[in-house]
């Protein structure tokens, strides 16, 4: 908001540049997606690309690069807790290590059993 008209004019170029970069990155993810890489590689590549795109959007479109301190602090706190929430699955998977399946042996194809449509 504090940016003056001159500065804003300069930004316009950046915005379109970022747009281009985002398009390219999207194309890359899709291309990688069609490659059907082994799952861990796919995850790494997709996440790296998504993070890059996220940084571009956050940094340029949302002006986080050079944003005021108070906002950055609030977001840092949020990001910390965000990762905490994301860690939940890891925690649970670790818990599962001491447990076994409920039926012995586990029913075949644990996921979808013939399920009559739900009304």
């Amino acid at each position: 908001m504090s940016a003056s008209a001159e500065e804003v004019k300069k930004h316009v170029k950046t915005y379109w540049g970022v747009f281009g970069a985002l398009l390219v990155l999207t194309a890359v993810t899709v291309a990688v997606g069609y490659k059907h890489l082994p799952i861990h590689w796919a995850i790494i590549v997709c996440l790296v690309i998504a993070l890059t795109k996220g940084t571009l959007v956050g940094g340029y479109f949302m002006h986080l690069f050079g944003e005021k301190k108070i906002i950055l602090w609030c977001l840092a706190l949020t990001v910390f807790f965000f990762f905490l929430v994301l860690l939940l699955p890891v925690i649970v998977v670790q818990e599962d290590a001491v447990t076994g399946p409920m039926w012995s042996p586990a029913p075949a194809g644990s996921a979808p059993v013939e399920a009559p449509a739900h009304e």
Partner: protein, 198 residues
Amino acid sequence: MDELIPYIYKPHPVTGITNGKFGTWLFLASEVMLFGALFSAYIMLRVGSESWPHGYQELHVAWAALNTVVLIFSSVTIVMAWVSLKLNKFTNFRIYMGLTLLCSLAFLAVKSVEYMDKFHHQHYPWTSNFFGIYFTLTGLHAIHIIGGIVVNAYLMGPGAKLWKTNPEQFTGRIECAGLYWHFVDLVWIFLFPTIYLL
């Protein structure tokens, strides 16, 4: 006490921001936690399940990629809408905002086609947790899009009157609407690979 609530359109001298912008960011922080929890649920269900299909086996990557492009473009247009106001070009603002709205409607249209196609193939939320997650996450995202459409339409239509009386405040509002819209875009940027590609 010349005014009841200061810093509505003038930034606070110490924090350097207006109330509205600060509030918007805090709201987005809570949204981050909301989607964080949902992504977390997704990871946990997927890791815990024995047969989770790859997104590309069940879903249409092309449509989703198209939607990604549409959303990214709308992000540029809304930021350009704000730029136009900064440069005092109200007509350009109208154009860019209109483009943003068109993009969001296009996004929803593609989304509905996609949903219809899923239903057509007997894929419902209760079919499996893969589709459960797919419908829940994309559905919630779509609700966010709809929310954005309402806000943006208001700001382009009746809300734009404020431009005449208090351009600074109006520009601030557009910036906030933009922040929200970029956030919705951001969520999609993560949803797209996690659901469709992996």
